[in-house]
């Protein structure tokens, strides 16, 4: 991930559930195949038009419902690596952090932007800029910061297991 990402906003409402993000019938064999159906029932053109660097800006309770990690995975595989919402569901929050998505809880941004607006995320200086306004990206709690810093829970454990293996040799 480059330090600064530029793209467009996908503006979504409150209570976007994981069934709408990825329906069970699209639990296909690969992440690529699954991501082609991301948000199909809510934003039919999303999967076709989404580009690397785009950002989802949503209302409250984003990702409510099922525990399915295929929902954040489909978003991530589509190229969206940052999601802004007024609040996230507990399961979506854990899953998204674990696969390396940057989550930004922010009560203001959604009301001050529209679908298709340009947005820039500066991961190094931890700021988001849209419509001439700059917002700070809050840090994760400390225990999650390390998982986030290495790009997710897979990297976190792989690095630890590889170190343990080297130590044993």
């Amino acid at each position: 991930m480059s330090a600064i990402a530029t793209g467009r906003i996908w503006h979504l409402p409150d209570d976007v559930d994981t069934d709408v993000i990825l329906a069970v019938k699209h639990f296909l064999n690969t992440a690529e195949e699954r991501s082609q159906h991301c948000l199909e029932n809510l934003v039919p053109n999303f999967a076709k038009e989404v580009k690397q660097g785009d950002v989802i800006v949503a209302g409250k309770n984003f990702g409510c419902g099922s525990s399915r990690e295929y929902a954040p995975e489909a978003i991530y595989t589509s190229g969206v690596t940052c999601i802004v919402a007024k609040s996230f569901s507990r399961l979506f929050y854990r899953n998204a952090v674990n696969i390396g998505i940057s989550l930004v809880e922010n009560a203001d941004i959604q009301a001050h932007c529209a679908d298709g607006d340009a947005i820039q995320v500066d991961y190094e200086n931890r700021t988001i800029e849209t419509n001439g306004k700059v917002y700070k990206m809050p840090r994760f709690p400390r225990h999650l910061e390390e998982i986030s810093r290495v790009g997710g829970l897979v990297n976190y454990h792989r690095q630890r297991n590889e170190l343990a293996e080297e130590g044993a040799n």
Binding site: D15, N61, E69, Y70, H157, R158, N161
Partner: protein, 419 residues
């Protein structure tokens, strides 16, 4: 200072009595459960993380419940092959294959017992809290890490006390309590929180009713939902009460808020299509047209639910052209329903009975809805497209409302159908 139920369960597991809401605590769960649909990803993440074994395979339970019998050739079969790998390569020996819905069997077979912490790759894991067990869901990446390390972090949640007074009237059920609660809290009102049920009304409920409530509490965003352990809990698990009587609310425990419901006053409730929290008194939906009725799911597929439906359908026929699908939640419930004659009642009434599984609640065959079709379902979600096409509509109700509506062909209150 006393403790909430969730604090007591975390203290028992972690040994740390100093915890308070907001603290991050590492726990070693007593049991973990994963499912067929996520097996390929759990195996893939174990490999990517370089875990060549599961630390305590004896703590794990594996369910083949969503995909049996197979619906999608070459896709569902891939999931089952990977589930078998979790058994053969990683040594998970406790497997439930085609025996019914995981969440029902987890308590029915005693995998999730009072006092335990249970973690599973499904949101409705909150169900087992009906038996005084701290149970909550995670994703498959975290499950792989848990299988590899036996460790998971939990944030000690704030708790909401739900005080239930009185007793349910006839034709009003546990589902009506939880529908009312989700309607009041809204879909995010229990976000990150523990919902804890106490009071004489809570103790008046059967174990099945408690599991129904804890199952659907998740739809208010709750991290977990808990009932106190009492003589009913002890009898259900065949455990001495004095082993579990610590799972009770301390009088001086600090709750973020307290909700009070008088069960004597409660009427049947219904969630209108496309909103689990768009809940109304049944009077607001009476006469609404329906095409299909679904009885079942991890919310309402118990033998008590089957009994309610059988009583209403006995000796009657469902409305012409209406489709009714009944799915007992487990083989145990199915066999008991056969023994008691319920299945014959259902078939004589014109309903279809399907094999114990998640069924259409999770978007699997059979009975999925087409554009414009309207269903009343006893399951827990009515999200857009969950039970069929994008243009279908699902009301959520109790088994009593659903069965009575099947006879009438429109939504009715249960008491309007003469028994």
């Amino acid at each position: 200072m006393g403790h909430t139920l969730v604090e007591k369960l975390i203290i028992k597991n972690s040994g740390d009595a100093s915890i308070k809401p907001g603290d991050i605590v590492v726990v070693h769960p007593d049991c973990y459960m994963t499912l067929d649909i996520y097996a390929p990803s759990v195996v893939q993440k174990l490999e990517e993380m370089k875990f060549d074994k599961i630390l305590y395979p004896e703590k794990a339970v594996l369910f083949l419940d969503h995909l049996l019998p197979l619906g999608k050739p070459n896709i569902d079969s891939h999931s089952l092959d990977k589930a078998i790998e979790l058994h053969e390569k990683y040594g998970i020996k406790r497997i439930e294959k085609g025996t019914g819905i995981s969440h029902t069997i987890m308590h029915e077979k005693g995998y999730a017992k009072p006092g335990m912490i249970v973690i599973a790759t499904d949101s409705h894991t909150t169900t087992y809290g009906g038996g005084g067990c701290l149970s909550t869901g995670i994703g498959y990446t975290e499950m792989a890490a848990l299988l590899g390390t036996d460790e998971i972090w939990l944030k000690v949640p704030e708790a909401i006390k739900v005080y239930l007074d009185g007793q349910l009237k006839p034709n009003v059920t546990a589902k009506d309590i939880v529908l009312k609660l989700v309607g009041d809290l809204k879909a995010d009102g229990g976000q990150y929180k523990s919902l804890e049920f106490t009071g004489p009304g809570a103790h008046s409920l059967s174990m099945s009713q408690r599991y129904t409530i804890c199952n659907m509490a998740l739809e208010a965003g709750a991290k977990c939902a808990l009932f106190e352990a009492d003589d009913k809990t002890a009898a259900y698990f065949d455990m001495p009460l004095d082993e579990i009587d610590w799972i009770t609310v301390d009088e001086d425990a600090e709750y973020e808020s307290v909700l009070h419901y008088d069960l004597d006053q409660l009427e049947p409730h219904i969630a209108k299509p496309k909103g689990v929290d768009d809940v109304h008194d049944i009077s607001q939906a009476i006469g609404d047209r329906i095409d299909e009725v679904f009885i079942g799911s991890c919310t309402n597929g118990s033998i008590e639910d089957m009994a309610v439906v059988a009583e209403i359908l006995h000796g009657k026929r469902i409305a012409p052209y209406l489709k009714m699908i009944i799915i007992p939640a487990s083989n145990v419930v199915f066999k008991e329903s056969i023994k008691r004659g319920y299945i014959e009642t259902f078939l004589r009434a014109g309903a279809s009975v399907s094999h114990p599984s998640c069924g259409l609640c999770a978007g699997f065959p059979f009975g999925l809805l087409s554009d414009g079709e309207v269903a009343v379902a006893t399951s827990n979600r009515n999200f857009v497209g969950r039970m069929g096409s994008k243009g279908s509509f699902v009301y959520l109700s109790s088994p009593a409302v659903a069965a009575a509506s099947a006879l009438a062909g429109v939504i009715v209150a249960p008491e309007t159908v003469a028994l």
